[in-house]
């Protein structure tokens, strides 16, 4: 086991997963209490994916994210305050309120942004990898996307180029079994790993609920990317607990309550990792509860802060259409 796998790392992973869950619970509440403008897509249930992967990355490494992007954002190092401010359209948000949930980005931590076009960031991630190779920086880029996004032709185009040019990019498909209101099996023929392999890309399948398994694989592939052995593909089996978006409440017609509670009961990434930490005597139950509480309080404080924060000035509406160019 590498140096990263020590108590500190375990704890950070646990905390990051709990932080994502706490963030999402609050975001959901904001929606339910009609304080959130628009809709948002909850990441709850998939925490081990974002955390397992992002804990294998440095802040120089890049990720691209999706419409279901809060988890990636938190995992890559973002703060609650700026995130909630963004979700509420406030000036102190990561994007000054201009992006919102579906476009949240945090370039300081290497998050090139969520994307409201399914599959829309596959080219961006691959281009970031091209930069790494051309500029000689050693950053690795992880492209997160869902099972539904594998139906976008763009993916095959960029996989081909990534393979031809040996780019340091990892395509990470979070297969949560659904693309909106449709089961993956109904919209994906054949095999996802075979699709990547057909381009000569090494493909892996991993339990996306097991943060240690995800992290171990991600660390190994990230290192290999840095040595010029990329690109890689990972299919992560996971599950989203909420509806497709916060407003998708009555979903029996496409997914059974039994299925949902089964995943939550048996395969929750936080509960299971918590159990493991206790089994390994790394943490006690009380310590874990303490962490949860502390993070809960943080999240609530951030929500309160964000609710009170100010909106951008109306003049901002026509700012940032174009970047300045030094003459």
């Amino acid at each position: 086991m590498s140096a990263k796998h020590n108590t500190e790392d375990y704890l950070r992973m646990y905390r990051q997963m709990v932080r994502i869950r706490a963030f999402e619970d609050n975001a959901n509440q904001l929606y339910l209490s009609a304080k959130m403008p628009g809709l948002t897509h909850m990441y709850s249930g998939q925490e081990a994916v974002a955390v397992g992967i992002c804990e294998a990355l440095t802040s120089e490494d890049k990720i691209t994210s999706t419409h279901r992007g809060h988890g990636h954002c938190v995992a890559k190092g973002a703060e609650f305050r700026e995130m909630f401010c963004e979700l509420l359209g406030k000036e102190e948000g990561y994007c000054r309120g201009k992006g919102g949930s579906m476009h949240i980005a945090d370039q300081a931590n290497g998050n090139l942004g969520a994307n409201a076009i399914v599959g829309g960031s596959m080219g961006i991630a691959t281009g970031s990898a091209l930069s790494a190779k051309y500029l000689g920086t050693s950053h690795v880029t992880v492209c997160f996307f869902g099972d539904g996004a594998t139906a976008q032709g763009l993916w095959y185009e960029v996989m081909n180029m990534a393979a031809l040019w040996k780019l340091p990019v990892i395509y990470a498909c979070e297969n949560n079994g659904y693309s909106e209101y449709t089961k993956t099996a109904e919209i994906a023929a054949g095999s996802l790993t075979a699709r990547a392999e057909a381009f000569g890309i090494e493909a892996h399948k991993v339990d996306g609920q097991d943060v240690l398994a995800v992290n171990e694989l991600a660390r190994s592939l990230t290192e290999r990317c840095r040595k010029g052995e990329g690109p890689f593909f990972i299919e992560l089996e996971t599950y989203r607990y909420h509806g497709h978006h916060v407003g998708d409440i009555n979903r029996d017609y496409y997914r059974s309550k039994d299925e949902e509670s089964e995943w939550k009961k048996v395969r929750d990434p936080i509960t299971n990792f918590g159990k493991w930490l206790m089994e390994q005597k790394i943490m006690t139950a009380d310590e874990l509860v303490e962490i949860d509480k502390e993070i809960s309080a943080d999240a609530e404080a951030a929500v309160t802060y964000a609710l009170d924060a100010k909106y951008p000035d109306v003049n901002e509406v026509s700012m940032h259409v174009f970047a300045e160019t030094a003459a």
Binding site: K98, E180, V317, V321
Partner: protein
């Protein structure tokens, strides 16, 4: 017999009626079947018409658009459901290089009778990639017809006409209007393409408005009427074909015009309509034609910003006052 139904229901009825009438009509899109689309516009159709005709697709917009083109060339009359108008950018090649040009390039031998139904409209807090109003882009491409229903009544009548048309037709529904109700007859009716609708008669200024901007114009006209300014509101209903005649006649009567559309203003729909009026009613105009499009900025998420990007009744009222009072909107 009339009754009030939502725009959503009107679209649903139009499609159901045409599918009953013509077995070659099929519909493809993401989550159109059981889910009836995220906006629930198509609820119930799969139950009546089955999965062979209401076809759930993967998230492959260029792919299913291309499939629709091929199906249209070989005996089907596909309706393509594009969940958000912003995704038009993904299917432009299949729509504009293929569907739009096939009839012409084949010297009239191949037809592409298909309907692309999609939406437009901001202020839904959906941010820059789910809020665009891209009608100008498709209206610029020869071979495409473009309809912009302004109420449930238009939505039904234009949809039925679109499905029977032998050409690719793009229909933009305003996603904020799905729950708006209007009187819609029980009896069948169709609304012909290329015939503008004079929503409200007036003498002093012509308000040409598309889609939900018709409501904006009507509200403005109502306010203006209290100030003794009589505004005529015209809904072109279709951008292609475009009923220039009705609009020119109105402007020749009122001598003033404001054009309102929710697409970005520059190089947008308001430019075309304003240019035509300015050219062809030139000697009748008492004041420059005023254009009111959305601001030339990506649609911002923040409610504080988003709402000011689109034309409002107050904005229209202000502009109408100025030109009716002879104030120059743009100092020469």
């Amino acid at each position: 017999m009339t009754r009030q139904i939502t725009l959503s229901k009107a679209v649903n009825e139009a499609i159901a009626e045409e599918m009953r009438r013509d077995p070659s009509v099929i519909l493809l899109g993401e989550d159109v079947a059981e889910a009836g689309t995220p906006f629930k516009v198509l609820s119930g159709l799969v139950e009546e018409f089955g999965m062979d005709r209401i076809i759930d697709t993967p998230i492959s917009e260029p792919g299913f658009m291309g499939i629709a083109v091929g199906a249209a060339m070989t005996g089907c009359r596909p309706i393509v459901d594009l969940m958000f108008g912003d995704f038009l950018y993904l299917i432009m090649d299949q729509l504009c290089n293929q569907a739009a040009k096939t009839h012409y390039m084949s010297g009239g031998k191949l037809n592409v009778p298909l309907v692309l139904r999609t939406n437009m409209g901001a202020t839904r807090r959906s941010a820059a990639q789910h809020s665009q109003s891209l009608q100008a882009l498709v209206a610029h491409v020869p071979g495409l017809k473009v309809a912009m229903p302004s109420s449930a009544y238009e939505a039904k009548g234009l949809m039925k006409t679109a499905i029977r048309d032998n050409n690719p037709v793009v229909i933009f529904e305003d996603k904020l209007m799905y729950n708006d109700k209007a009187e819609v007859p029980e009896e069948e009716y169709l609304i012909p393409f290329g015939k503008a609708n004079i929503k409200r008669e007036g003498r002093d200024v012509t308000l040409v408005a598309t889609s939900s901007m018709v409501q904006v114009a009507e509200k403005a006209a109502e306010i203006l009427s209290r100030e003794n300014i009589s505004a005529e509101v015209i809904d072109p209903r279709t951008l292609v074909p475009f009923d220039e005649e009705t609009i020119l006649q109105s402007v020749k009567k009122t001598s003033r015009a404001i054009v309102i559309d929710e697409g970005h203003q520059s190089f947008g729909v308001t430019a075309e309509i304003a240019a035509r009026i300015s050219e062809k009613a030139f000697y009748h105009l008492d004041a420059p034609v005023i254009r009111m499009g959305a601001m030339d900025v990506p649609v911002p998420f923040s409610p504080a910003l988003e709402d000011i990007t689109v034309p409002t009744p107050d904005g229209v009222v202000e502009n109408a006052r100025r030109i009716c009072r002879g104030e120059l909107v743009h100092a020469a």
